[in-house]
């Protein structure tokens, strides 16, 4: 199969990422008033067999980034302002619809975050999984049904034959999420965009599903973008973490390094919110407290010199002078494999860093 071949070749030369998002900006028409800038210059990349975790608060643009790479952003009101998303040497943002149809579901699959409403209520589960199979694989309906049953069995649905004929409303939320995952995996995509795939599931099922996904990654070389709010899931499953805020990347690093030593105040705040078992704290610290503390912004250095972490709500008086006020932000590689979102001071502007890429070891 074509998808497997590409994976095989890229896997043997691990320098090229499977997909790389470069300086993506997406905005939405708000009817009246200014456009909503949902994503404002985001870069990230996923390698085969790699899991890129995208974290950040609600509404920061994680889903929009993922959906942009499948051209699933409704346009209008949405619009791609700039940037590109490279996949197999082509820019996904400019791919014509006919080409895109082959990519969607076939090469890149997506699991959406709302399992309750993401399945069509009037078709059976089997029909919906088979629809994907029939679209992307030249197989007979019988064969497609077999593939669908296997996919359902893979995600741990009991009695898959019988469940093929059931309707979504007869399934619980967790079961529906598993159906969504089965549907996404039925065509063996080379990249999986998983938008909070386990939020609706209980802890044991969550673990099972993530293990299943990891197993699939090992056997097929699938890359995965894992969007989640659960830092525990990140720690266990991710290879690389991309932390976003307000449509921008604030920190991008290998998972162990990030957990050991977060550099951006926002990331630090995020980690400090997790009540650690080892430490005994009197009370929880909020992200707010960390990011509003001016001391948190001092002492960060990069090859270009000292840099100041970017934060949109930083006091005007504390902001460094910028190279170009219309472009206040830059993602700076402060040390090998560590990127931090910084104010685009003149030094930063003179030393453009490479786009964030962390190849698997």
């Amino acid at each position: 199969m074509a998808a497997h071949d590409t994976i095989a070749t890229t896997a043997s030369q691990p320098v090229e990422p499977l997909m790389s998002v470069e300086d993506l900006a997406v905005s939405f028409d708000n009817g009246s008033g200014p456009r909503i800038q949902a994503v404002a210059g985001v870069s990230m990349s996923v390698y085969p067999r790699q899991t890129l975790a995208v974290v950040g608060e609600s509404g920061c643009g994680k889903s929009v980034t993922a959906m942009s790479s499948m051209q699933l952003i409704p346009r209008p009101p949405g619009r791609f302002d700039s940037g590109r998303i490279m996949f197999e040497g082509r820019n996904l943002l400019e791919l014509p619809e006919r080409e895109m149809l082959k990519v969607r579901g076939g090469k890149i699959a997506m699991i959406f975050q709302e399992p309750m409403t993401s399945l069509n209520p009037v078709y059976t589960i089997g029909d919906q999984i088979m629809e994907a199979v029939l679209l992307h694989q030249a197989v007979s309906p019988d064969e497609a049904a077999r593939i669908a049953i296997k996919a359902m069995a893979d995600v741990g649905i009991r009695d898959p034959e019988g469940r093929m004929r059931a309707y979504p409303h007869q399934f619980s939320g967790g079961m529906r999420q598993r159906v969504m995952i089965a549907m996404a995996l039925a065509c063996r995509p080379s990249l999986l965009l998983a938008d909070e795939p386990t939020t609706a599931l209980d802890v044991t099922i969550q673990k099972q599903i993530l293990e299943l996904l990891r197993g699939l990654q090992q056997s097929t070389g699938m890359g995965m973008m894992l969007i989640t709010h659960n830092l525990g899931v990140v720690a266990e499953n991710a290879d690389v973490v991309c932390c976003m805020y307000a449509g921008r990347v604030v920190e991008y690093a290998p998972v162990t390094e990030l957990f050991d030593r977060p550099l951006h105040p926002y990331t630090r705040g995020l980690f400090r919110c997790i009540p650690g078992l080892s430490e005994l704290r009197n009370r929880l610290v909020t992200v707010e407290e960390v990011v509003t503390d001016p001391r948190e912004y001092q002492g960060l250095r990069s090859e270009a010199g000292p840099v100041v972490p970017w934060w949109p709500f930083m006091d005007q008086s504390q902001r460094p002078s910028l190279d170009d006020p219309s472009r206040p932000y830059a993602l700076v590689e402060v040390s090998p494999n560590r990127w931090v979102g910084c104010w685009r001071t003149p030094e930063v502007a003179r030393h453009p860093s490479r786009p964030p890429r962390i190849a698997p070891a």
Partner: protein
């Protein structure tokens, strides 16, 4: 499914009862009431006392003097398929024959004691002679009853005359139209020999005489009836106590024909018109709505929306008048027939169009009907376009932004298939629901359309019935229209249940 259907059918019963009761009360309690229609009929006669007698007869025949709820219950008893009481018989003519009713009591029994009750002994002949005998007794009972009812009326008139002769305090107790209710004059002394009193006494004597005669013939007719000259109607379960039978809508007094006959010719016409109109509405409105939603905000969307809103704002009567005036009337274009369902020569037409040997083209029965129905159907359909296409558009748009459509697109389903098999398929459900809103409105609209184009359907029938205050006809019309409407809604419900897997039948 069967229990679901049964439950739905049972739920229809209170609805039909509710609506017929409402209409019954309206007709019965309206000022003038049913009497207005009777007066129209009676007005053809010159002699006022004859008019009064006729009115008394009709009131007795249709039981108009009883409490309205009693009247309604009686009507229900006839319409209900479950029949209690003596089983009616079917005459060879097909008419239902019921047991002769009890006579109304004589009035003013406190002043003029009623004759003693008596029991007539009568032996009926057997075989064919029974039928002949029953027919004779029936006529006789009918005639004597009529005389008796008339004499009761005469009695009341005589009382009213007497009261008027007495003058001041007493006349205040008369009814507004001048009639006298005997019950209100219990304390009136009837001694003396004023001329009006003499008349009153002779009226009482006449009343008692005719009561004796009427009662005797009623009893004889009852005995003959119970001997079963004709077969029983319907299916008898407990003889003369409980039976099943077809609804009996009675006789329309404006036309003196069984109501069912009138409805049986009118209802199919109305249903036909509606069933031609419906597919047209859906065929035009649904694709328009789908296209408008796909090109949302585009020229097609805006123009079709505006067009349909304009059309929606044109009342049916306006279109009807314009269509008749400009398209059908010979003063202008004269393209279509002005009225009716068929040409007068329709009976001799062949079904399909053909060209005869002389080369003349004959349009045939079918085309003739299409030609006649074109304008009425046009009037009926256009208002539905706006409602339905707007609903379609809204449902499509809602589904377009739904999560499962996004899922389908993420699977790589081409956008045409997304629109048809995902968006439209889910939008069908509200469209079926829409039927519930449109169909009753269309039935109402067809009443008007039929009236404008003088098509002999339920609409024409009901307006005639209203103008003549023909209660039986109005009620039967209401009953049938509501039942048709409810059955259509039931159909829509079943369709919905079939289309939406989430609906459980029980």
């Amino acid at each position: 499914m069967a229990t679901y259907l049964l439950r739905r059918l049972l739920l229809m019963i209170p609805t039909v009862l509710g609506i017929t009761l409402m209409v019954f009360l309206l007709v019965a309690l309206a000022p003038g009431g049913i009497g207005a229609g009777l007066a129209v009929q009676g007005g053809q006669m010159s002699d006022t006392s004859k008019v009064a007698q006729m009115q008394a007869y009709l009131e007795d025949r249709y039981g108009l003097n009883d409490n309205v709820f009693v009247q309604y219950a009686r009507w229900l008893g006839r319409v209900s398929p479950l029949k209690f009481g003596t089983t009616p018989l079917v005459a060879p003519t097909g008419d239902l024959v019921r047991e002769p009713r009890d006579l109304p009591e004589p009035v003013m029994t406190w002043a003029f004691p009623a004759p003693a009750a008596f029991v007539v002994q009568y032996t009926v002949p057997s075989g064919d002679a029974l039928i002949e005998d029953f027919k004779r007794l029936q006529r006789e009972a009918e005639g004597t009853r009529r005389t008796y009812v008339g004499s009761v009326r005469g009695m009341k008139d005589a009382l009213a005359d007497h009261v008027r002769a007495l003058g001041a305090p007493w006349t205040a107790r008369l009814e507004p139209k001048g009639g006298a209710d005997p019950e209100r004059f219990r304390d009136l002394s009837l001694d003396g020999d004023a001329p009006t009193l003499v008349k009153l006494r002779s009226a009482a004597a006449a009343m008692h005489a005719s009561w004796t005669e009427a009662e005797a013939s009623r009893q004889r007719a009852t005995i003959a009836f119970l001997a079963r000259p004709y077969p029983a109607a319907g299916f008898e379960i407990i003889p003369n106590a409980f039976s099943l039978g077809a609804p009996d809508f009675g006789v329309a007094f404006s036309r003196n024909r069984p109501v069912w006959d009138l409805i049986a010719t009118a209802l199919p016409v109305t249903i036909l018109i509606n069933f031609i109109a419906f597919p047209i509405i859906y065929l035009v409105a649904v694709p328009t709505g789908v296209l408008a939603s796909v090109r949302r905000g585009g020229a097609f969307d805006v123009i079709s929306g505006l067009m349909f809103l304009l059309l929606y704002s044109v009342p049916v009567v306006l279109t009807g008048v314009f269509a008749i005036g400009f398209l059908a009337n010979n003063q202008y274009l004269g393209w279509f027939p002005v009225s009716g369902l068929h040409d007068s020569a329709a009976a001799t037409m062949t079904f399909m169009p053909y060209t005869d040997v002389a080369g003349t083209w004959h349009r045939g029965w079918l085309l003739d009907m299409v030609w006649h129905l074109a304008l009425p159907v046009l009037c009926l359909v256009y208002a539905g376009f706006a409602v339905l296409s707007k609903q379609t558009r809204a449902a499509m748009l809602e589904n377009f932004s739904s999560d499962y459509v996004r899922t389908a697109r993420a699977k790589g389903v081409p956008s045409r298939d997304v629109i048809i098999s995902h968006v439209l398929r889910n939008s069908l459900l509200p469209l079926i629901t829409m039927f519930v809103g449109i169909f009753p409105a269309m039935l109402g609209g067809s009443v008007v359309v039929e009236r404008i184009f003088t098509i002999p359907g339920m609409g024409s029938l009901v307006i005639e019935a209203i103008n003549l205050r023909d209660r039986e006809l109005i009620l039967a019309n209401t009953f049938m229209i509501s039942s048709v409407s409810l059955l259509a809604l039931l159909l829509a419900d079943i369709l919905y249940a079939l289309c939406d897997p989430r609906v459980a039948y029980d």
